[in-house]
Symmetry: C2
Subunit: 459 residues, 2 copies
Amino acid sequence: MSLDAVLAQIDDDLDAAIERLMSLLRIPSISTDPAYAKDCQSAADWLVADLASMGVDAETRSTPGHPMVVGHVGEGKPHLLFYGHYDVQPVDPLDLWNRDPFDPAIEDTDSGPVLRGRGTADDKGQLMTFVEACRAWKAVNGTWPCKISFIFEGEEESGSPSLVPFLKANAEELSEPDLALICDTGLFDKDTPAITTMLRGLLGEEVTITGPDIDLHSGMYGGPARNPIRVLSKMIASLHDETGRVTVPGFYDGVPELSDELRAQWDALGFDDASFLGDVGLSLPAGEDGRSVLEMIWARPTCEANGINGGYTGDGFKTVLPAKASAKISFRLVGTQDPLKIRSAFREMMTNALPSDCKIEFKDHGASPASVMSTENPAFEKARVALSDEWPKPAAFIGGGGSIPIAGHFKNILGLDSMLIGFGLDDDLIHSPNEKYDVRSFQKGIRSWARVLAAVTKD
Amino acid sequence: MSLDAVLAQIDDDLDAAIERLMSLLRIPSISTDPAYAKDCQSAADWLVADLASMGVDAETRSTPGHPMVVGHVGEGKPHLLFYGHYDVQPVDPLDLWNRDPFDPAIEDTDSGPVLRGRGTADDKGQLMTFVEACRAWKAVNGTWPCKISFIFEGEEESGSPSLVPFLKANAEELSEPDLALICDTGLFDKDTPAITTMLRGLLGEEVTITGPDIDLHSGMYGGPARNPIRVLSKMIASLHDETGRVTVPGFYDGVPELSDELRAQWDALGFDDASFLGDVGLSLPAGEDGRSVLEMIWARPTCEANGINGGYTGDGFKTVLPAKASAKISFRLVGTQDPLKIRSAFREMMTNALPSDCKIEFKDHGASPASVMSTENPAFEKARVALSDEWPKPAAFIGGGGSIPIAGHFKNILGLDSMLIGFGLDDDLIHSPNEKYDVRSFQKGIRSWARVLAAVTKD
């Protein structure tokens, strides 16, 4: 096999690869909103058809939620299991987009051409980098580099309710590979590739406070009647102390301090706190006192309100004392923090703060611990060297602020180590209006996977 | 003239009067939502046509917002100016209504037949009690009891932005009457009529906090990035101290303590705190420590959050750090509290609490001081006796928790005292789903006005 020929084929086929990605991006596969269930099925079908066109034995497998795509192809060691997700985030507020989020296009920007649209970076564009690397490899060599299995999920953006049962039910088939590859992370910066070896966990909670049975007139009841917005605001305000630490009892159990070695490595990356915050219009780090921004994102746990709603929120004014107020609250977790213990301590703390004539309800929006990868498998170092060959600067082992629970599930259910390699950038606006993915990320991402496949299949 | 004949005519004509009210109720004149502007115009036109059918010289007068209805008719002293409002509150949450809010009907309930629908009690049903009393008087006597002017407003539920300019521009015409009558208040209880002589003022504010320029991914930015929901929650939590007092500096300037005399009168009313709160599913008075519920509602100022919104509030979960969060906050005012001083102290307090890299915006949703009526005009005592003749128990002079700024404007701009008489009940669900107005309130309300007209025109 010739790696150079594969890389040349990738470059020659780039326009066609972009067209293929565009057609996947046009499917509005928003998993969290039941109105888009058919579109999630369509995205899964699209992937099955694309894999099948390359000779992969692929099919959709139904779940109680959106379907899984599973495929197998090729022969030889190591047997790799590639994971991506075809579902995307909701698109609101729609009026802040510069185009229809599901009518993607290439736009020229100061930092080069980008693909603009929902899912370009998270995760359709990323998962297609691996698929396209495989396509080019097969086109040039006529064979596959090794045995490769694919699993594409359709519920990553909605807490992956079907994933664990599916992995358990198909553990025999899916634990056969030697190593998992996951493409849902970023570069360290535009010139520095990265293998993410630490990922924060995620605990999602929804809290609803009910005061009076019905919405009340604030003239008639204002004063004696309990206001659930005030109750909820006080609860949210109580979740952090003056130093920015989370006040949920036992929250910091299992949060490790950074080793001197890792701290030194991260200091050497030269991360620019001011420009990281300045890029999104902020200037003051808002987290715990005495922690660097990189430490806050990669190695410290958080508690945030992701949504709040209560009373009249339309145009104008309505002097109502609302019956209900609710908030969506999430915790990012590190080290060995136990999500279920934290959920129960959080619920107890909220319930204790409740006035005795109010009611409180909780809704579970998923719980996954942090993942810390073992880098002892030689594939990690081979991949690091292969990535360093493609990009201007050498690859680094880094942390990740977001949660990719799949890596933990692969370890716990299938016994598989995961190698997390991705090509996203901090300014990709994932989960926000105007999400984009650099054409350079897409092209060099495909080339990176070709290099990684060559490296890990070489003795 | 014969009062008995007028009362008999009112009873005979009740079904037709209800039909007329129904047709006004079917017009969805929601003033706060620009989508219903045409319906507000239709409600004004309906009133002009109805007044004209009785010989009133009536017309709509345009304003920058929804039109005023003004009419004049009759001769003789005292010249009365009757005020009501034809606009209604929004109807959300619509799914909590037991019927289309704009398809009113009579429903039988345990406490007798009620008119169910938006505006039945606030204020279309109430304003029609006076109109129907006039119609019966005219039908029986062929003449009017005295000179009567009408003014119907269409922006009462949205802060009355056009009212003050309109009263000022038409002061010569509208200051000619001797006394204003306002029908937008309630009975003390179902058997005790009331003339409201103290009304709380209202200050409305909308606060929007902006943190980052765009919505952020809470994995990528959670920790160092400022979360405007947390900033806003902390601000709302800071607006009250542990004893329930409002913490805005200078807030209690101009708040009088109740006189021993008035406190004794109110104690004598035998108000039942437990059942007032119990009726709406509450049990603990939530206001200032050491104040009775009646005092909290009638004679103490408040600060309440009427709406809050930020981040993702749809189905499912979205791990977003939102760029913005906003709240609608209102203050009920008493005595001589100055709404503009309080607005400025509130804004300064909020701004001082703002992290330096966030932005804060305020939107003005109206400001009106409390009204305290002079009861020295003999019409007050005449009306009290007339009301006592109609209802099982004697009429009382009471306070009112809601704001009816019109009484203050009539005093300040037109030099007119106002007599506030209404027939609503605490369980009318005004501003809430399933608003209703008892048929008994409507019928005895019409009869009450006939008695008051007879009483105040007698020497």
